[in-house]
Amino acid sequence: MIRALILRELKRGLTGSAWLPMIFFLIVAAIVPFAVGPDAPVLARIGPGALWIAALTSALLPIERLIEPDRADGVLDQLSLVGTSEEGIAFAKIAGHWLAFGPLLFLALLPASALVGLDQHATARTALSLAIGTPALAALAVAVASLTAGLGRASSLAGVLLLPLAVPLVIFGSAATGSDSGSALKLEAAVALFILAGGPFVTGAAIRAART
């Protein structure tokens, strides 16, 4: 059931609005040079951070369709009736969400890093830090989506909820793009692992709580 669910999530992501997060990512990257001016050294310095902000916001973009439609339509109820645990559902949702937006984000990273004037070396470091960080972003998005499912104005509430949780990831993630020492990268990996491991349990508990 888990595999069928991951496939379903991926298919829904790709047929629906999968290109939207990627296009959004590119738009933010394209706006940055206009906003800060065409000064190459400045752009190269803030570029990776800007790309991290772009990745964070594009992971948040589909948050309303991650959990709420399935809750409202009874899909979550039926899944637990056929014996899928809520944590299993959450794991499948996280994997499906990442598969639908992660790989496309890396595709968009090449033109985006050109837009903010990153050299080859900096692009590679940004790609590495995003590769570690985006699964955690997917877990955060699904967890927050489940916590706000069924509430009014869910998306604005989701932003408020997500912000404090995403801050450590963004701090270490963008720091890792600026140094070769690797210590920031290790801290980023630690934060990402923590979020990724906790995400399914938070989501599972939220799905159960939404039923009562």
């Binding site: 059931m1 069928a4 379903r8 829904r12 047929t15 409202a72 339509d73 009874g74 899909v75 109820d77 039926q78 637990s80 009736l81 056929v82 039923r211 009562t212």
Partner: protein, 183 residues
């Protein structure tokens, strides 16, 4: 062997006591009809039995169950056949034939009429092959033909040793044991 056994069930919803000290049993081949006015807790009892809602007191054991409630739980953009196939189940072909969905198999779920969607949700229950069917207002939106098909499906299910627990305001055909929740 019994399909459902609940003892001393109590449920509080929204600060209101819906029922307490409720015992419920369903044996193989049996059909039980929950009756009572709106808001008495029929749907909530079905959700407690399905395990989606925890009772505040009491114990419940049940066999594998399939539930048809208000929610369709089928992907709107898929065809009827593929949407039903997502839920697996050993009796998919048979269920689609019994509920007259064969001709609708390639139609996207979002194009179904209300009654057709109701048939699809009943077909999902039958396709699951679960011995226990939990049906919340199964007749809503069904035409005469749909009612007859449901009646036949329930009859065959019971002959095969399955059990049905339904909540309905409209009389269901066949021989049902009624349980009035108002008493």
């Amino acid at each position: 062997m019994s399909l459902v056994q609940g003892r001393g069930l109590a449920l509080i919803r929204g600060g209101r006591l819906l029922f307490k000290g409720l015992d419920i049993d369903l044996a193989r081949g049996e059909a039980l009809l929950l009756t009572g006015p709106n808001g008495i807790g029929k749907s909530s009892l079905i959700r407690v039995i399905s395990g989606l809602l925890r009772a505040n007191a009491g114990t419940i054991t049940r066999a594998d169950a399939a539930l048809a409630d208000d929610n369709l739980a089928l992907d709107r953009e898929l065809s009827v056949k593929r949407a039903l196939a997502f839920w697996g189940g050993p009796r998919l072909q048979e269920a689609m034939a019994v509920f007259g969905l064969d001709t609708l198999a390639p139609v996207p779920v979002r194009m179904l009429s209300t009654g057709q969607a109701r048939r699809a949700r009943l077909a999902r229950v039958m396709a699951s092959g679960a011995p226990l069917w939990l049906l919340d207002e199964p007749l809503n939106g069904l035409d005469a033909d749909g009612r007859e098909r449901l009646g036949r499906a329930i009859h065959d299910h019971r002959s095969a040793g399955g059990g049905v627990l339904a909540a309905s305001h409209q009389p269901l055909g066949g021989d049902w044991r009624a349980m009035d929740m108002a008493r």
